[in-house]
Assembly symmetry: C2
């Protein structure tokens, strides 16, 4: 594809803030027309989100998690997921988050896609997986500061509810879009 009239070149960067979970940098880029501008970019580890489908005697259920979110200061009902650990693959992270948050193990993890949570201001990626053939583990395995309820919900209810509280996490909606267009 011929799109060189859209392509910028990074000519410098400088970290301006760092915390335990993310860092912020000024990045200086040269425009397709040769003019330099400075943009703010957030660096963070990659994230992973899993769409787990549980077969029950009452029909299929998405295994969702309800938890408090400190950014939006509200309860969010969302697909399980989290931050990849250093050196961890997306698939390993998906299996780990599924086990920790929902106490389930998947025999099959199918990659749905990889996207940018916000390619304008974030450099990291979010990896999406579909999990099937689930079997229960003994218990959740949460960090000391994690409080997470697991809830099995009919897919139709989740699809219809997405975009209104408590379905507030946009990356859960993104996961749903990939599930709907890619499901086996």
């Amino acid at each position: 594809m011929e799109a060189s009239h859209l392509v910028w070149t990074e000519i410098g960067r400088k970290e301006v803030y760092r915390s335990r979970v993310l860092s912020v940098r000024d990045t200086i880029c040269r425009s397709p027309e040769g003019k330099d501008s400075t943009f703010t970019v957030i660096d963070s580890p990659d994230w992973v989100i899993v769409v787990p489908l549980l077969k029950t005697k009452d029909g299929p259920r998405f295994l969702m998690v309800r938890q408090w979110r400190h950014g939006s200061r509200e309860l969010s009902l969302e697909f399980p997921g989290g931050v990849l650990e250093r050196g961890e693959t997306g698939e390993a992270g998906a299996a780990r988050e599924l086990a920790e948050e929902t106490a389930h193990r998947a025999e099959g993890l199918i990659k749905l896609g990889t996207m940018s949570p916000n390619p304008a201001i974030m450099s990291n990626h979010v990896h999406f997986y579909y999990a099937e053939n689930l079997s229960p583990l003994e218990s959740q395995s949460l960090d000391e500061d994690e409080f997470v309820d697991t809830e099995p919900l009919p897919p139709g209810e989740v699809i219809h509810g997405m975009g209104r509280p408590p379905y507030v996490h946009a990356l859960s909606a993104a996961a749903l879009a990939l599930y709907l267009s890619r499901r086996p």
Copy 2:
């Protein structure tokens, strides 16, 4: 809903970084069990994303935009959108971004939902709209540092492509999910 065993209380906050487009704060929260922890939260204006459906003699087309993204350092093919201006409503912002980026005006703007781009670490919201009955304006109206191509694409191609380059923007996938579950 009885979920007090999940609810945290914010007991303090302190700004640690501020740029032109966002600020970062440490927020101190008390857990449901009474223990205090500090979390990083990013504050930013709200965003808006529009799913514009254009009727053509060859069938319906999503009006997408292709642009360079400085976070992911790649070309992204996505629904038009951007940052709300101070005091601007979601609907006004949707109409403005649609006009600026795609040079089209919508007779009908239908709200698809409001979500958190990432409720874990961001306090702002993203508002999603569906735009129909589009009519062309004379030209795009871009900032000096914006270079944006407009591309009309068959909905099936976008739905199938989402999650793979150049469809890399997760909030576009979220918009698609809401469009698919809410379309008139």
